[in-house]
């Protein structure tokens, strides 16, 4: 827990500022506003821009926290797990195979009900050792109890990081939360971001209170003992209860965010773009939203009725809401920045989950086509999106299309 309060100039407390920063730097700013206590770092591109920016803040005396460069990602996430158990507000992050190196630590954290907020700078998993964006790194923890959210611009990254602390540290939740920022497009590109006044952040973010779960000599508990088949199912059911509560907590926190900061995100789980009168929609996560929206504007001028749904929260996956929003369309084209080798219909993770949500919750079953695109950091281009839309319209008109296709591939 931070015991030193750094002197802040009077006007800075109430002043909203603006900065030219990347998505990852914006998250560093959010951590400063949230007054994090323990930060662990280990360099790996492209997440490490947050680590560099944060260490600069610490060096300049703008952030008082324990800043620990660990010996590797496994230790990185073990350290913050333990620090959080002792009541510290923590931050960490990684990318690609760095995140995978932490996997044992990532796996055990949700069951212990520990609210780590982490940045995943989405990066292709080795091999080959590529630096560009793919979503498989963050997605690899989707079954374990982590919350997962994707953002597509630096302002949203900053806001979502503040929201993340409030959601994760809510006593009804107490699970780790990873914010995904596309490598390069969001982690390394600087745009103008409004930084909220510290005074408002203080109103929005209560102190992290671990209550009876606090690891402290005055609170005698044992955490993470060995257990056998008599106990495990009940423990899993506890984490399951968290996921049942999660959508409600998220809605509450976004409403509070809007009330205090004045910035409106509407439906927290996904963003809709020109879907009102659309016949087909495209579906995806992250910064591909930019070329998609630009293409949709272009196609709309040609009279084509297409819209876009950008998924923010992958865990919890808001199945009923998504089904309700999508069931009325004639066809859905998922733009997939991940792979899931050997899956049903050989589709990627997002399309597979979407189809599952529609199967259970939707009144109708529009064709859901999956388009593997922009893998390895390759751009999702406007011509790619035009092609994807064209094929989706074909499906909408009743002409069967392959369930999984590769777009922008040589060969």
């Amino acid at each position: 827990m931070a015991t030193i309060t750094l002197p802040v100039k009077e006007h800075e407390e109430v002043l909203e500022q603006e900065a030219l920063i990347t998505g990852s730097e914006a998250i560093a700013v959010a951590c400063k506003l949230a007054n994090v206590d323990v930060v662990t770092a280990y360099p790996i591109r492209p997440y490490d821009t947050v680590m560099q920016y944060m260490s600069q803040l610490v060096a300049d005396g703008e952030l008082d926290c324990e800043f620990i460069v660990a010996d590797g990602e496994h230790s990185q996430f073990e350290i913050v797990k333990h620090a959080s158990a002792c009541g510290a507000r923590v931050f960490s992050g990684s990318s690609g195979v760095g995140w995978m190196y932490a996997m044992e630590a990532l796996t055990v954290t949700p069951a212990l009900r520990i609210p780590i907020v982490a940045l995943v700078g989405n990066r292709t998993l080795d091999d080959p050792g590529a630096f560009g964006v793919e979503h498989n790194d963050a997605l690899s923890v989707r079954d374990l109890g982590w919350m997962l959210v994707w953002v597509d611009n630096a302002q949203e990254a900053l806001d979502t990081a503040l929201i993340a602390y409030r959601v994760a540290e809510d006593r009804r939740m107490f699970v780790p939360l990873a914010i995904s920022c596309d490598g390069a497009f969001l982690t390394h590109s600087q745009s103008l971001v409004k930084i909220p006044a510290p005074e408002k952040v203080k109103k929005f973010l209560p102190k992290y209170n671990r209550g009876e779960l606090l690891l402290h000599p005055d609170n005698v508990i044992s955490v993470a003992p060995q257990a056998n088949e008599d106990w495990v199912m009940e423990m899993r059911r506890q984490n399951y209860a968290v996921t049942e509560r999660a959508p409600g907590v998220i809605r509450e926190v976004y409403a509070e965010f809007e009330r205090i900061f004045g910035r409106k995100y509407g439906n927290p789980f996904f963003e809709e773009y020109r879907t009102e009168d659309a016949e087909v929609v495209l579906f995806g996560m992250g910064t591909l939203s930019t070329p998609v929206k630009v293409t949709i504007d272009k196609l709309r001028q040609q009279g084509k009725k297409v819209g876009f749904v950008r998924l923010r929260w992958f865990r919890p996956f808001a199945g009923p809401e998504i089904a309700k929003a999508l069931e009325r369309f004639k066809a859905i084209g998922v733009i997939e920045r991940d792979v899931s080798f050997g899956s049903p219909d050989l589709s990627g993770v997002v399309a597979t989950e979407l189809r599952s949500a529609l199967y259970s919750n939707a009144k109708t079953r529009p064709p859901v086509l999956d388009f593997l695109c922009g893998l390895g950091g390759r751009e999702v281009t406007v011509p790619d999106v035009e092609k994807i839309t064209e094929i989706t319209f074909q499906a909408a008109s009743g002409k069967p299309q392959p369930l999984t296709q590769w777009i922008g591939l040589r060969g």
Binding site: T22, A184, H188, S189, L192, K293, L409, G411
Partner: protein
């Protein structure tokens, strides 16, 4: 659609990284004070940067949010209004370490756009290096040496703000000089003095028109990327073949040893200097060949050592270890028009080669960016200041 502008800044990797970033950020922040929106970023494929290998940074500026989004749809702008070149040897062409193929320095400049080069040379000298184009553009010089301004150990020579002044002159619709000076005063250390530097360059910067067809006609190699079915499995690449002897143009006999080298990535555009060799005074001590970190020396049939210019990155280690004075001399890359083997030229006509060598060593610029010896900065300072007075 509203107004949309793109600027690219091309520099030598790592050394000029901070300078390039300071320029693109300066553009966005100054334009923002005029009510515009913008984005500053580097070409992700350049990162992590390699010493001296060409790298690009960009600034996109738009009058409104929707137009900015349009400008962002293609991550790297295919066309730019202004291209800033921070080291004039880059005018010979650029190849990123992550790509295949050399691109002309002016490839992305729009019709009527401006190429701004930080250089001690005049436009005609640069146009002997720059590839010709089908469409006209402008070429302007900001007088100065290749700068590391922004790097924390380097003395700030105001290159960042001088370039900003040149940009404001070249394209006032993008950002005005007043906004530039206000930004400098408000945000930079030594702001008042730096604003004066920016103003001086703004006043003196005078680009010339480059008509279609002016420049060199060099045909650059084209690389076809493989289709997925044609690639070997398992993230595997085939190695280079073993080398062997090569022909002496004077005797027509085979001899010496030239190793097999990477035939896809040539170091042409990573160099700012190259070694020129005196085969007459060489004592065949083998030190250059032994110490070259890239194995860029061929053993010739008469036992001397020839630099393979496809692989040489211009590090200067050979010149440093050579025990014979002026046997190997590093000369600025801008002095050369081809990458032909020096030994082959020598063997074809030894007298002509001697003359060429003598002239090159005597008249050629023997420095590039950075400092190769203690005291070089102090030596260069008076001339640099004089140049800066000229714009």
């Amino acid at each position: 659609m509203g107004q949309l502008f793109a600027v690219e800044v091309v520099g030598r990797g790592i050394f000029q990284d901070t300078l390039a970033k300071n320029i693109t950020r300066g553009i966005v922040l100054a334009a923002h004070s005029e009510g515009k929106l913008g984005l500053s970023f580097g070409r992700y494929g350049d990162s992590p940067e390699r010493n001296g290998i060409p790298a690009k940074k960009f600034a996109i500026v738009a009058s409104d949010e929707q137009t900015l989004q349009l400008g962002m749809a293609h991550y790297e702008p295919a066309q730019v209004d202004v291209c800033v070149v921070l080291d004039d040897t880059l005018c010979k062409g650029i190849e990123s370490w992550a790509w295949n193929g050399v691109h002309p320095i002016n490839q992305t400049v729009k019709r009527g756009g401006t190429l701004i080069v930080v250089s001690t040379r005049e436009p005609d000298a640069l146009l002997k290096m720059i590839h010709r184009r089908e469409q006209p553009y402008k070429l302007g010089i900001v007088k100065g040496r290749a700068s590391f301004s922004g790097l924390w150990v380097y003395k700030d020579d105001h290159t960042d703000v001088r370039v900003l002044g040149a940009i404001a002159k070249a394209l006032p619709e993008l950002v005005g000089q007043e906004a530039i000076e206000k930004y400098i005063q408000a945000k930079l250390k030594n702001g008042a003095l730096k604003a004066q530097s920016a103003r001086r360059t703004f006043e003196l910067f005078t680009p010339v028109n480059v008509p279609p067809g002016q420049g060199i006609a060099e045909l650059l190699p084209h690389f076809e990327l493989l289709k997925w079915e044609d690639m070997p499995d398992g993230v595997t690449i085939k190695g280079q073949p073993q080398g062997g002897p090569f022909e002496d143009p004077a005797t027509k006999k085979l001899g010496g040893f030239r190793p097999g080298r990477n035939d896809k990535f040539m170091k042409y555009t990573t160099r700012t200097m190259r070694p020129v060799v005196n085969f007459d005074t060489c004592t065949k001590c083998t030190l250059c060949w032994l110490n070259c970190p890239d194995g860029s020396f061929d053993v010739t049939s008469d036992g001397t050592y020839d630099v393979d210019l496809k692989g040489c990155c211009g590090c200067g280690i050979c010149a440093a270890v050579c025990p014979v004075e002026n046997c190997i001399t590093m000369v600025n890359e801008a002095e050369f028009r081809d990458n032909e083997s020096q030994w082959l030229r020598y063997r074809r006509d030894e007298a002509a080669y001697s003359q060429w060598l003598e002239k090159t060593i005597e008249l050629g610029e023997k420095t590039a960016h950075g400092f190769r010896y203690r005291g070089q900065y102090q030596e260069e300072l008076p001339a640099a200041l004089e140049l800066a007075q000229k714009g």
